[in-house]
Structure formats: C-alpha cells, structure tokens
Symmetry: C2
C-alpha cells in the first residue's frame, strides 16, 4: 500500500483577490514549499541574535544523523530542545562574534553543523530588536564524528529509545506540508555544508558561517599541524563569490502535450518499477532560459520538438539541492515522432491519452519504492504521487491548464 499522502501546502494569502489571481488562478504551492518560518536572513551573521535565539526556552531543534531526520513517525517530525544538544554544540555556540570565529579558525577542531532555519512568528517566543519575534527553529547535525562521537552516540541512543527514529526514507516522507518544508530547508543546508568542506578556488578547508548559510575560506588556520598559519591569497576573499553560498540546481520538469493537445508524453527509466512513467526532466544548463532547457531536454531524451512552453510552478527538492521548475510544453505539428537514440537516459517514452492519465492519477499513484493502491490493476499506467511536481503537472494538463477543457 502507498503511504498516506499529506496535504499540499496552502498558497500564501489565498483570501486576497487580485488581478493576478483572476487571470492566472490560484498560486500552486508544491510539497516542500510553504514553510511557516520567517528566515530573517539578514540576522544570520548577528551572533548576538543567534546566541539568544538558540538558548531561548521555546527553541525547537531538528536532529539529523547522516542527513536522516529524527521523526516521531512517518507523519510527524520530532523536535528537541537546546538543552538536549548542549553536550554536542556547547552551552553557547554563538558566544564569539562571527569575525572572531573566522579569526580564530582551527581546521583541526570538528564543529558540529548548526543551521538557523527561521522564526515561527505564529507562536510566542523570542523578541529581538522589536521587529523580530517568534519561536526560533534550528537544525543540528548529530552524526557521530570527531571529538563529539561519543556524545552523539549517547544522544542518538537516548532520543531513539522511545519509539522515535532517524528516518531512512527519502521519497517516503509523509510529513505534513509545513514540517516537510522546514525539513527540506534543513536537509538542503546540512547536505551542502557536508558536501563542501574544501574551497573550490584554492583547495583549503573552509568554515561554516552565517548560521550554516555561508562557507568562508579563512585567511588563517591555527591548527597545530599547519606549518604556516597564514594561507595564500584566495579568490573568494576578494569580493563576493557564489562559491561561498549554498548551491541550488535549477532543474526543468515538463508535461509535454501533443500538437492537438490530446495526448501527453511520458518517459521511464530502466530502474523504475514496471508500468511506471513520469514527466521528462533534466538540469538547466548555463545560459539557457527555462523554455530553452525544456525544449532541449525533451528533444535530447525523446526526439520530440516543442514550440510554446509555459512555466507552471516550482518545487524545492532537497535531494540534494534542486529547484524543480515545472512547465507545460506543446509539440509542434509534425514534431511528435519519438527517437530515443540521442541521449541514452530513457528506456522508453510514449504518448498517453487523457483517459489513461486520468485513470493513472486516480488509482496508479505512489512513491517510487511503494506499491500502488488497491484499485490499481496490473498493466495500468503508474505515476508519481501528488507530493511530486510531476503529478501536479499531469493533473494541470488533464484538468485543462490552458483552455479550461481537458487535455489542456
């Protein structure tokens, strides 16, 4: 059986009537978006703020072990208090200023990663400089490592003793939409920090700053094993470099309809279960618009030639760092022949009718690793669940995205 599907996030301010919503309809909010937190990004370098925030009695801390989040169950993320993690991060991890932290950088000291996720303004909590209020949310990496290995293991044993667990699933998450969005932020940033311990410009180890949202290449390293603490010049220290900031990879994913609007192109990879198809997708390349990336990917993977492409909605996808940009594209007349020989990515690509799609969206949805629902009949089309933007794109087309009539 597929896991219960969570509700999708609510769009912001759905009650406000506007010219935009009258022409373009309700905003589409996909799973992993819709975070209730205010990130107050400009406060991240402010250690006076961070120090108060992490030590506030209302503060909630997500725990991750090797990028797996602590959950109460598949439908509830677990939160710890700051007191739970002081054995790992210390009683005041932001006591020094950021400037001093950089100046006293020592690459031999393992510093467990802390991410400041934002303030939940819906609840009473910290009040900082009058404007910034709410319950602070953090994520802490408790993977047993370096000098804190033993303390992390102790904590892990303690928190998993009462039925909670570090969730191994990735596509199986059934968290409520708002918890999923907070989880996505934490996972994306923990992964980015873990994946980038060295400076791509000079090869030296880097240091996480801005509460996990920046990595800097310190000019000095006082580690005992380092012969000369002064490091050579690094390009990231002169001016602003994108290398210092989290990476997000724009990815296009598209429901492709035939020139007459009556069929939809889906593809499948070899490793997927039988009868499982999805929308085509691929990474946007340097110097492409979204529409160009959509046309290129569709031609490369399926041989189909597209004309007009319209962006539908976007979805953050933290495995590890994607921004899924969902689009609807229409084949040009005569451009519908399928040719799989350009790029070897797909095992098959096929045109499906509205009837087949409608049935699949009704009975054939599930996560990739799950079984289909009880109404599904072997041999019928299987498609991704509604938490995937692929499903939202198919649904939009089947419901009459462009014309109000099915297909589009």
């Amino acid at each position: 059986m597929p896991l219960p599907q969570p509700d999708l996030p609510e769009p912001a301010h759905p009650e406000v009537d506007s010219m935009l919503s009258r022409k373009f309809g309700k905003e589409i909010a996909n799973y992993f978006s819709g975070s209730p937190l205010n990130r107050v990004s400009f406060l991240r370098p402010d250690h006076a703020f961070l120090s108060q925030a992490i030590r506030h009695p209302t503060t909630k801390v997500l725990l991750f072990n090797k990028l797996e989040p602590l959950v109460n169950s598949s439908t509830s993320i677990a939160t710890a208090s700051f007191a739970d993690v002081t054995s790992i991060v210390g009683v005041d991890p932001f006591s020094r200023t950021e400037e001093d932290t950089i100046a006293e950088y020592n690459s031999s000291v393992y510093v467990p990663q802390i991410i400041f996720l934002g303030l939940d303004e819906r609840s009473e909590g910290l009040v900082y400089k009058e404007h910034y209020k709410g319950v602070p949310w953090f994520a802490v990496d408790v993977t047993p490592k370096g000098s804190v290995t033993e303390e992390c293991e102790k904590l892990i044993n303690k928190v998993t003793a009462n039925g909670k667990e570090f969730s191994k699933g990735r596509m199986h998450l059934s968290l409520p939409a708002q918890e999923a969005a907070i989880y996505a932020e934490a996972r994306h940033l923990l992964d980015w920090n873990a994946r980038n311990p060295y400076c791509a410009a000079c090869g030296y180890p880097t240091l996480s700053i801005n509460a996990g949202f920046k990595r800097t290449c310190p000019p000095k390293d006082i580690a005992p094993a380092v012969q000369n603490p002064e490091r050579p010049p690094c390009a990231t220290r002169t001016g602003i470099s994108n290398l210092c900031f989290p990476r997000t990879d724009p990815t296009v994913i598209m429901a492709v309809v035939s020139a007459d609007g009556q069929r939809m192109l889906l593809g499948r990879q070899k490793r997927w279960p039988p009868y499982w198809y999805s929308t085509l997708a691929g990474f946007l390349e340097p110097a492409e618009s979204v529409e160009e990336a959509v046309r290129r990917e569709v031609w490369e993977e399926s041989g189909v030639h597209l004309g007009r492409v319209v962006i539908h909605s976007t979805q953050p996808w933290p495995y590890p760092a994607n921004l899924m940009i969902g689009a609807i594209g229409q084949a040009i007349p005569g451009g519908e022949d399928i040719h799989l020989g350009h790029d070897a990515e797909l095992e098959d690509a096929k045109w499906f009718t509205a009837e087949e799609l409608r049935e699949a969206l009704r009975v054939g949805t599930s996560g990739l690793g799950e079984e289909a629902g009880s109404e599904y009949k072997e041999g019928g089309l299987r498609v991704p669940p509604q938490t995937a933007i692929a499903n939202q794109l198919m649904t939009a087309v089947v419901n009459g995205f462009a014309s109000g009539n099915p297909m589009i």
Copy 2:
C-alpha cells in the same frame, strides 16, 4: 549617449498557433537566451566527435582573454578558425579518449580550457552519425598562462592588430541577440571552470572533461611533484555529484505592484547613478519556491508584504552564473509600507506611478555605466535597458500584464 540597443531574441516557433499561446500570449525571450546552436549535450564525452568537430574546416572559435571576448566591434563578436589556436591547444586536443585523459591526469600540466558550444544546424558543416549536422562552435581560453603564455601573447597581438579587441565591457554589450546567447554560454562555462580548479569535496585539483561541461576529481595524479600518485577516496567519485557540473544560481527579480495595481515598487543601491531605480532582486535560497523567494526578498529589502506572485519569464545572466527568474508580484492590502531597516541592501525603495514608469521606459533607459538618451531630463526616473529582464518586467506591467489594462 547609450549604446544602440540590440533586438531581443525571437521566441521559438512563433508561427505555431497553440492553446498555450492563445491563453498565455507569445513566449518572452530575453537577451542572452535564444541561442541558434544545438548543444547535442550527449556528444560531449565522445572524443571521436569532438576531435572531428574542432578540426572541421567550417568550425568557428570564440577567443577569450581573462573572460573578455574577442569582438570586431561592440555589435559583432569575432570568430577565429581552429588553425588560429593550434599553437595553444595542439593540432588534435581530443585525440585521446576521455577515459585515457582522466587516467593520464597530470596536475602540473596547464591545459587551456576548450568549450564545445554546439552545432549551428542552419549552415552546412560537419555530419556526424547521420543525425548531427552543422557548423561546430567552440570557445578557447587564450589567457596568457603556464606553458602557453608566450603563444597566447603572440596570438593576442595578432588578432588585435586589425581593429579587433577583447571587450572589457560587461553591461555594455550590444551584440545581436544570437551572438549574445552564444557568448553567454561560453562566458558562463569558462568562468565556472576557472573559478573551480579544486574539488570542494576533497581539496585536490580537478580536471575539465565533457568539453568544458564537467569537472572530475581524477583518482590518480602523475605530476612529478606528487609523492603518491594514487589519491585518497573522494565522495564525487562514488555516484553522481552535482559538484562536478556547472553551477547556475537561480535568482528572483520582480516587478512589484500595489494592491490596487496602480503603482510599482522600485529600489536603488547606493552605488547607482542618481535617479536610477530598478526592480528588486535576490538569490533564491535552499528549499524555497520561486514565489516564496520573491515574497521573502521583497519583505527583507523593502518591508512590503506580497500576496500572489506570477512567473513572467527567465533570463540567463552570465555574470557569473545566474538564471534570472522574472516575476510579477502584488502587495496585499495594507502591506505597502516601506521599511528599509531589515536588510541594509537598498539605499531607497519607492512606489512609482504608471506615468513615471512609462516616461522612464521611453526616455530614461540605459546601461548602468552609460548616460541616458538625449530626451532624458535631469531628475526624471532612470531604468535599465531592454536587454535587462527588469525592463521587460516593468514594460509588461505598464502594458497590462494581468488585465490587459495598465498597470497590470
């Protein structure tokens, strides 16, 4: 005087009538998109193809010196032939397979960067495996460096002797749209390769492969100074890592209209010329949808609260690696008060009327470093040129983006 403004690129297949274009209008193609080249990305690892392509008599090569392109004039990019660069890259730079190139990696050898940009299928040229035809385009980095310093200097003197020059401008480009798109692809990739000589996962030097579209961390380095040629394990060698692929940073840029649709919010940075304003913009963060990033950035920079946000179009921006995602957002009733105190990024933010915007778009457009046109009167609003998506967003709103009536 502002430089002459190039035409914007044509959207793909504008002659095809479709349900999408009937509902959503013509596709918006911004400057730096609209490349005429087929990238045939799946052929990039194929050195038999690359070897034939770069040595083909029709092949065109763009030359870059410190990321500055060789141009005939501000309205024409210069192309060289492969023969012009053999003194720098050798007579057959793709003679070995990619596999062998990696196996024989030697970090002490400077390899001038070559980028395969694509095939121009509109002209007769190479024919490869029946399907892939056209004039091959490449870019070569001729910055004087390493063992080829002297040869590069010679080439630079030769090609700049006859009036051509390496263009120092960045916002001043007035290239025709298709040349600008090819230039953008080359610049983005040359910059990415130059900016990332080391592996962010392990700190060792990396090697450019896939004709400039991938960097790999070789398992062995036969450089004489390296004591142990076998390198330690690296995370990028097990499975696919995004670190190996070019980075593109999704950036949101937005025309913000008031709740009643009658005014538009623009901001200015301190370093801009007097009276110059533009749309607000900022980087999308991990685990944000585009709409959420727009609302966050607008609130952080101006204090204004947005409701519905609609994506308008996108623009590749190769300085160094952005995908500009253009959007229109509308303030919620009561959310229009400006507060610049959150983030210190803007010197000013202000609401402008349709009349002010219309006049500015008529007489006040220019590149940032240029003077306004002759009709502009001191004190009037100045805004970016039509090659910037900011201008396209303002124009869309002023022309009635949502309602057909000005403002939106």
